[in-house]
């Protein structure tokens, strides 16, 4: 009996080390994914910052014009002078345009805010425990983060059903959904459609990410969840996205399935238990 307990503990040690290695891999894949996204997010932020910044410079000119008018109130000899200045600075245009300028700039700042909030929501590095979470919110957050990767490649269609809160590590589920969305966008040659479907099925929830891309060829089908397997050009993919997604879903006691028809598209289906079995026992 004592003989058996030694290999047992050794196995436990190995298991623990494997688990640790898996964690590290997960973390580095997350960082790689965020790194890849960073360029895209910079683009997303530079656009609104671009016009807000330019609008502020224009606002400066508008203000100078307006001050010229208000200061003339003290110096002008007659009302006719004031009218002249008002006409010179194109007051009517200025008045209309100021409103637009402010509204557009506010819209820009709102967009930057949304992106930053989504990045924060998305990463959630501190949260590593199973907690009830709103999957739809997670999906929206993820969509905001990868918007730049998607918007030039596909129209995103949401077919959301009613979902209860699901016990999961939401940051990890977000990461899986991000992988699926980015893969879907990469699979589309010119412009297509990505459909995100959610529904409750008994004691589980189902999230589907379907694209109208080139599909997965049958000889690749059984390899897609292998670590480091990728058909993307060097530098485009780490080959870890799907294998880690698979691990994450497995850890959640769920399943990740794929259906694909070459030339027609691919559908990834995540099935997750609403109540995580381990926490159920506690």
């Amino acid at each position: 009996m004592s003989n058996a307990s030694a290999p047992q503990s050794e196995q436990e040690l190995l298991n623990a080390r494997l688990e640790q290695a898996n964690q590290q891999l997960l973390q580095s894949e997350k960082l790689a994914a965020i790194g890849q996204l960073a360029a895209g997010v910079a683009h997303e932020i530079n656009n609104p910052v671009g016009y807000v910044y330019s609008n502020l410079q224009t606002l400066d000119n508008y203000l100078n014009d307006l001050f010229r008018l208000t200061e003339a109130v003290d110096n002008a000899r007659c009302i006719e002078d004031l009218r002249q200045i008002k006409q010179n600075i194109d007051y009517d245009f200025l008045k209309d345009d100021l409103r637009d300028l402010l509204a557009e700039s506010r819209e820009g700042i709102e967009r930057v805010k949304t992106i930053i909030a989504a990045m924060k929501d998305f990463s959630h590095i501190e949260e590593e425990e199973f907690k009830p979470a709103d999957l739809h919110r997670g999906i929206e957050t993820t969509l905001n983060v990868v918007n730049n990767e998607l918007k030039y490649k596909a129209e995103v269609v949401r077919e959301f059903g009613d979902l209860p809160e699901v016990e999961c590590i939401i940051s990890q589920i977000n990461q899986v959904i991000m992988n699926l969305l980015v893969n879907a966008a990469h699979a589309i040659e010119t412009f297509g459609r990505i459909t995100i479907r959610t529904r409750q099925k008994g004691s589980t929830v189902v999230v589907e990410v379907q694209d109208t891309g080139r599909g997965i060829s049958p000889e690749h089908r059984h390899r897609i969840f292998e670590p480091f397997f990728t058909t993307k050009p060097v530098g485009k993919g780490t080959g870890l996205g799907l294998s880690l997604s698979f691990n994450i879903i497995e850890k959640h006691q769920g399943t990740l399935d794929v259906e694909s028809a070459p030339g027609e598209g691919t559908c990834f289906r995540i099935t997750l238990p609403i109540v995580h079995p381990d926490t159920d026992n506690e």
Binding site: A39, N46, N55, Q57, N61, K151
Partner: protein, 175 residues
């Protein structure tokens, strides 16, 4: 009137640029999609075309390449939030852009880039006008020479006159 075309899928960028360019007095046309921008190349002759880089359906470099074929004289500029090496090299080598500007931009930088582009456009136009003028004048000279040659073959000596040392024309009735 100098015409400028702006292409960007983001409407607010177009409004900000419109505001910026208004005091310059140029005629500014804005398009938020490549298809309409392409269509307008048939109706308007632009001095400067400024395009975003990343847009749905076609990227800015592809658009500017089209524009280069349709209007080779228009000077091309890119205004992009996506400043990676690859896109810049593509813009320079394929679309032969005059400047690559990045978002967010400094207003005075955009203005001076456009001014320099307009100068370049006007130089090209002036050069073409002078070349045409030159061709026209050469043609005129050639036509005159031919006429003289014709007169000379018909009436040998008619194109030449004899003068004395004081410069007076000498007429003789040898024939």
């Amino acid at each position: 009137m100098i015409k400028i075309q702006l292409v960007d899928d983001e409407r607010n960028i177009l409004s900000a640029l419109r505001r910026l360019l208004k005091p310059e007095g140029w005629e500014v046309h804005t398009y938020d999609n490549v298809e309409e921008a392409l269509g307008s190349l048939k109706d308007h002759e632009y001095a400067v075309i400024i395009s975003d880089f990343r847009m749905p359906t076609a990227d800015g470099v592809t658009y500017l390449q089209f524009a280069k074929q349709r209007q080779p004289d228009a000077v091309r500029l890119v205004l992009s939030a996506y400043g990676d090496r690859e896109s810049m090299i593509k813009a320079i080598n394929q679309a032969e852009v005059h400047r690559y500007l990045s978002k967010p931009w400094e207003d005075h930088e955009v203005i001076s880039a456009i001014r320099s582009a307009i100068d370049l456009y006007q130089l090209k136009k002036e050069n073409q006008r002078l070349r045409r003028e030159n061709e026209r004048q050469k043609d005129m000279i050639r036509a005159r020479e031919e006429e003289l040659l014709r007169l000379e073959t018909e009436n040998p000596g008619i194109t030449r006159v004899q003068r004395d040392t004081d410069g007076s024309v000498l007429l003789s009735d040898d024939d």
